[in-house]
Amino acid sequence: MCVRFEPSNVTEMNDWIAIGALALVGVLIPFGMMAVSYLLRPTVPETSKRATYESGEIPTGGTRIRFNIQYYMVALLFVVFDIETVLLFPWAVAYQDALAADIPLVRALGPMLLFVAILLVGLAWAWRTGAVQWARTPRQLESDRP
């Protein structure tokens, strides 16, 4: 009997089999590890296991120190407003070409002005509602008190 081995043509093979297999493996591995460790590990629940490790010293408190809430607020505002600038970027790239192609200024500039205006409304609102207020003066505290 003659068996002919044909070298499998890699380019003809569906590339996405590999991708699918990878996806599968990528999911199976964590699940498998979780399953194996679940089966193997002895379960001895103990509070000290979950305690914070401080170089063998007895821990003196939680791992987290509370920051002032305003710290996060400002950070959040920064993230949001900072990232919005990525939307300015493609506009900036296309702006000169648009003007060169005799697109009216209103159509070239208008949408971006509108966009910025909306952002400004948001910023104004955040400002007015005190989101950017790092600390309050005693007078403000007084007026806030009902």
Binding site: L22, L76, V79, I83, L87, F89
Partner: protein, 101 residues
């Protein structure tokens, strides 16, 4: 020499799966969020690679939108995690189980 597009896809798949792994195993809400961001960035890799492959800019533009929206999502997510901490004294996503079944 350009890299074939399928390698980008492999890369993005890998990033996506890592993100998914994080989503499934991390109990810390912040890490959960980061894992999701990883998945979004996997999509961005795809988009940019394919934009290059197809020779149009649509994908790149969409990637920019994805980034902006991801940022917004993070902002909302962090806000929710803050109130979560205030109410449950923890950012472990498996702790709040008052509602089930």
């Amino acid at each position: 020499m350009t890299v074939d597009v399928q390698y980008y896809v492999l890369l993005s798949m890998a990033v996506f799966c890592i993100g998914l792994f994080g989503v499934l195993t991390r109990r810390n809400a912040l890490l959960f969020l980061m894992s999701v961001e990883l998945m979004l960035n996997a999509a961005n890799i795809n988009l940019i690679a394919f934009a290059f492959y197809h020779g149009n800019l649509t994908g790149q533009l969409f990637a920019l939108f994805t980034m902006a929206l991801a940022a917004a999502e993070v902002a909302v997510g962090l806000g929710i995690i803050l109130v979560l901490y205030r109410n449950f004294r923890d950012v472990d996503v498996t702790v709040p189980t008052t509602m089930r079944w």
